[in-house]
Amino acid sequence: EAGVAQSPRYKIIEKRQSVAFWCNPISGHATLYWYQQILGQGPKLLIQFQNNGVVDDSQLPKDRFSAERLKGVDSTLKIQPAKLEDSAVYLCASRPQGIRTEAFFGQGTRLTVV
Protein backbone atom coordinates (compact mmCIF):
# COMPACT_ATOMS: atom_id res chain seq x y z
CA GLU A 1 0.00 0.00 0.00
CA ALA A 2 1.42 3.36 -1.01
CA GLY A 3 1.94 5.83 1.80
CA VAL A 4 1.25 9.54 2.04
CA ALA A 5 3.21 11.38 -0.61
CA GLN A 6 4.45 14.94 -0.20
CA SER A 7 6.40 17.27 -2.40
CA PRO A 8 8.74 18.98 -2.50
CA ARG A 9 10.93 17.53 0.25
CA TYR A 10 12.86 20.74 0.74
CA LYS A 11 12.22 24.37 -0.16
CA ILE A 12 14.21 27.53 0.49
CA ILE A 13 12.57 30.88 -0.20
CA GLU A 14 13.08 34.48 0.73
CA LYS A 15 10.69 36.21 3.09
CA ARG A 16 7.65 37.72 1.41
CA GLN A 17 7.77 35.12 -1.37
CA SER A 18 5.05 32.55 -1.81
CA VAL A 19 5.32 28.77 -1.64
CA ALA A 20 3.03 25.78 -2.11
CA PHE A 21 3.18 22.25 -0.79
CA TRP A 22 1.40 19.25 -2.22
CA CYS A 23 0.05 16.13 -0.52
CA ASN A 24 -1.42 12.93 -1.90
CA PRO A 25 -3.00 10.90 0.92
CA ILE A 26 -3.46 7.17 1.11
CA SER A 27 -6.20 6.03 -1.23
CA GLY A 28 -9.57 5.91 0.46
CA HIS A 29 -8.63 8.03 3.46
CA ALA A 30 -11.32 10.62 3.96
CA THR A 31 -9.54 12.69 6.58
CA LEU A 32 -6.48 14.75 5.74
CA TYR A 33 -4.40 16.86 8.14
CA TRP A 34 -1.71 19.47 7.67
CA TYR A 35 0.63 19.90 10.62
CA GLN A 36 3.39 22.43 11.18
CA GLN A 37 6.43 21.21 13.10
CA ILE A 38 8.84 23.89 14.22
CA LEU A 39 12.31 22.70 15.18
CA GLY A 40 12.30 21.31 18.71
CA GLN A 41 8.52 21.19 18.96
CA GLY A 42 5.79 18.68 18.39
CA PRO A 43 3.52 18.85 15.35
CA LYS A 44 0.80 21.49 15.56
CA LEU A 45 -2.42 21.07 13.59
CA LEU A 46 -2.99 23.74 10.96
CA ILE A 47 -6.02 22.43 9.13
CA GLN A 48 -8.14 19.31 8.87
CA PHE A 49 -10.25 18.18 5.92
CA GLN A 50 -13.02 15.62 5.83
CA ASN A 51 -13.30 14.66 2.16
CA ASN A 52 -13.07 18.06 0.46
CA GLY A 53 -14.55 20.11 3.28
CA VAL A 54 -12.68 21.94 6.04
CA VAL A 55 -13.64 20.74 9.53
CA ASP A 56 -11.02 22.57 11.59
CA ASP A 57 -8.85 25.50 10.57
CA SER A 58 -8.81 27.29 13.90
CA GLN A 59 -4.99 27.27 14.08
CA LEU A 60 -4.39 28.31 10.48
CA PRO A 61 -3.01 31.89 10.09
CA LYS A 62 -5.56 32.77 7.46
CA ASP A 63 -3.98 36.09 6.56
CA ARG A 64 -1.11 34.22 4.89
CA PHE A 65 -1.92 30.50 4.82
CA SER A 66 -4.49 28.80 2.64
CA ALA A 67 -5.27 25.20 1.85
CA GLU A 68 -7.59 23.30 -0.39
CA ARG A 69 -8.47 19.72 -1.10
CA LEU A 70 -10.04 19.41 -4.49
CA LYS A 71 -12.21 16.37 -5.21
CA GLY A 72 -11.48 15.07 -1.72
CA VAL A 73 -8.11 13.60 -2.66
CA ASP A 74 -4.95 15.69 -3.15
CA SER A 75 -4.35 18.77 -1.09
CA THR A 76 -2.20 21.87 -1.38
CA LEU A 77 -1.06 24.21 1.36
CA LYS A 78 0.07 27.69 0.38
CA ILE A 79 1.88 30.43 2.22
CA GLN A 80 1.78 33.96 0.84
CA PRO A 81 3.72 35.96 1.84
CA ALA A 82 6.14 33.87 3.89
CA LYS A 83 7.72 35.09 7.10
CA LEU A 84 10.90 33.95 8.79
CA GLU A 85 8.88 32.26 11.53
CA ASP A 86 7.23 30.00 8.94
CA SER A 87 10.46 28.01 8.72
CA ALA A 88 9.37 24.53 9.76
CA VAL A 89 8.56 21.06 8.52
CA TYR A 90 5.07 20.77 7.08
CA LEU A 91 3.61 17.34 7.58
CA CYS A 92 0.63 15.91 5.79
CA ALA A 93 -1.25 13.00 7.31
CA SER A 94 -4.32 10.99 6.38
CA ARG A 95 -6.61 8.73 8.33
CA PRO A 96 -9.20 6.13 7.39
CA GLN A 97 -12.77 6.25 8.63
CA GLY A 98 -13.48 5.42 12.26
CA ILE A 99 -12.34 6.75 15.59
CA ARG A 100 -10.07 3.85 16.48
CA THR A 101 -7.58 4.59 13.79
CA GLU A 102 -4.22 6.22 13.57
CA ALA A 103 -2.91 8.91 11.29
CA PHE A 104 -0.41 8.01 8.59
CA PHE A 105 2.20 10.66 7.92
CA GLY A 106 4.15 11.69 4.88
CA GLN A 107 7.86 12.50 5.03
CA GLY A 108 7.18 16.20 5.24
CA THR A 109 8.40 19.31 3.46
CA ARG A 110 11.16 21.24 5.17
CA LEU A 111 10.70 24.96 4.51
CA THR A 112 13.46 27.45 5.18
CA VAL A 113 12.60 31.14 4.89
CA VAL A 114 15.63 33.43 4.64
Partner: protein
Protein backbone atom coordinates in the same frame (compact mmCIF):
# COMPACT_ATOMS: atom_id res chain seq x y z
CA UNK B 1 -8.14 21.73 27.43
CA UNK B 2 -6.58 18.61 26.06
CA UNK B 3 -2.79 18.42 26.25
CA UNK B 4 0.13 16.04 26.20
CA UNK B 5 3.26 16.49 28.28
CA UNK B 6 6.58 14.82 27.66
CA UNK B 7 8.74 16.02 30.55
CA UNK B 8 12.06 14.81 29.17
CA UNK B 9 13.37 16.82 26.23
CA UNK B 10 16.51 14.73 25.85
CA UNK B 11 17.44 11.27 27.10
CA UNK B 12 20.76 9.49 26.65
CA UNK B 13 21.14 5.77 27.23
CA UNK B 14 23.82 3.23 26.47
CA UNK B 15 23.18 0.57 23.89
CA UNK B 16 21.69 -2.48 25.55
CA UNK B 17 20.28 -0.51 28.46
CA UNK B 18 16.59 -0.28 29.19
CA UNK B 19 14.54 2.75 28.23
CA UNK B 20 11.46 4.50 29.54
CA UNK B 21 10.02 7.65 27.96
CA UNK B 22 7.37 9.46 29.93
CA UNK B 23 4.08 10.81 28.67
CA UNK B 24 1.24 12.42 30.59
CA UNK B 25 -2.01 13.52 29.04
CA UNK B 26 -4.94 15.68 29.96
CA UNK B 27 -8.24 14.61 28.46
CA UNK B 28 -11.65 14.30 30.03
CA UNK B 29 -12.95 11.29 28.17
CA UNK B 30 -11.46 7.89 27.41
CA UNK B 31 -8.18 8.68 25.66
CA UNK B 32 -6.91 7.14 22.50
CA UNK B 33 -3.14 7.20 22.86
CA UNK B 34 -0.29 6.83 20.43
CA UNK B 35 3.48 6.81 20.29
CA UNK B 36 5.21 7.87 17.08
CA UNK B 37 8.91 7.89 16.21
CA UNK B 38 10.60 10.36 13.88
CA UNK B 39 14.04 9.72 12.46
CA UNK B 40 16.00 12.68 11.05
CA UNK B 41 14.46 13.98 7.85
CA UNK B 42 11.56 11.56 8.03
CA UNK B 43 7.89 11.71 8.82
CA UNK B 44 6.27 10.14 11.86
CA UNK B 45 5.99 6.38 12.10
CA UNK B 46 3.51 4.75 14.45
CA UNK B 47 5.11 2.60 17.14
CA UNK B 48 1.97 1.56 19.02
CA UNK B 49 -1.53 2.64 19.97
CA UNK B 50 -4.01 2.19 22.77
CA UNK B 51 -7.77 2.35 22.36
CA UNK B 52 -9.13 0.09 25.09
CA UNK B 53 -8.67 -3.26 26.79
CA UNK B 54 -5.31 -4.56 27.97
CA UNK B 55 -3.40 -1.61 29.40
CA UNK B 56 -0.04 -3.00 28.28
CA UNK B 57 0.30 -2.69 24.53
CA UNK B 58 2.99 -4.08 22.31
CA UNK B 59 4.34 -2.24 19.32
CA UNK B 60 6.90 -2.56 16.61
CA UNK B 61 10.66 -2.68 17.08
CA UNK B 62 10.32 -4.24 20.55
CA UNK B 63 8.58 -1.27 22.15
CA UNK B 64 5.72 -1.47 24.62
CA UNK B 65 3.68 1.07 26.54
CA UNK B 66 1.49 0.93 29.60
CA UNK B 67 -1.68 2.97 30.06
CA UNK B 68 -2.27 4.05 33.66
CA UNK B 69 -5.54 5.90 33.99
CA UNK B 70 -4.93 6.83 37.64
CA UNK B 71 -1.71 8.60 36.68
CA UNK B 72 -2.90 9.89 33.28
CA UNK B 73 0.23 8.35 31.84
CA UNK B 74 1.23 6.32 28.81
CA UNK B 75 4.93 5.63 29.18
CA UNK B 76 6.95 3.97 26.46
CA UNK B 77 9.45 1.25 27.33
CA UNK B 78 12.02 -0.96 25.69
CA UNK B 79 14.08 -3.52 27.59
CA UNK B 80 17.24 -3.23 25.49
CA UNK B 81 17.96 -0.22 23.30
CA UNK B 82 19.70 -0.54 19.94
CA UNK B 83 21.77 2.20 18.30
CA UNK B 84 19.16 2.43 15.56
CA UNK B 85 16.58 3.57 18.13
CA UNK B 86 18.18 7.02 18.26
CA UNK B 87 15.40 9.33 17.09
CA UNK B 88 12.72 11.65 18.38
CA UNK B 89 9.67 10.16 20.04
CA UNK B 90 6.26 11.77 20.21
CA UNK B 91 3.32 10.87 22.38
CA UNK B 92 -0.12 11.86 21.07
CA UNK B 93 -3.73 11.72 22.17
CA UNK B 94 -6.64 11.39 19.79
CA UNK B 95 -9.44 13.75 20.74
CA UNK B 96 -12.97 14.35 19.58
CA UNK B 97 -14.20 17.93 19.64
CA UNK B 98 -17.41 19.13 18.02
CA UNK B 99 -17.56 15.97 15.98
CA UNK B 100 -14.05 16.26 14.59
CA UNK B 101 -11.26 13.87 15.47
CA UNK B 102 -7.70 15.14 15.71
CA UNK B 103 -4.39 14.35 17.30
CA UNK B 104 -2.58 16.46 19.88
CA UNK B 105 1.13 15.88 20.18
CA UNK B 106 3.62 16.37 22.95
CA UNK B 107 6.81 18.29 22.38
CA UNK B 108 8.85 15.14 21.90
CA UNK B 109 11.78 13.40 23.55
CA UNK B 110 15.03 13.12 21.66
CA UNK B 111 16.81 9.85 22.34
CA UNK B 112 20.55 9.52 22.02
CA UNK B 113 22.15 6.08 22.19
CA UNK B 114 25.75 5.66 23.25
CA UNK B 115 27.76 2.81 21.74
Amino acid sequence: AQSVTQPDIHITVSEGASLELRCNYSYGATPYLFWYVQSPGQGLQLLLKYFSGDTLVQGIKGFEAEFKRSQSSFNLRKPSVHWSDAAEYFCAVGTTTSGTYKYIFGTGTRLKVLA
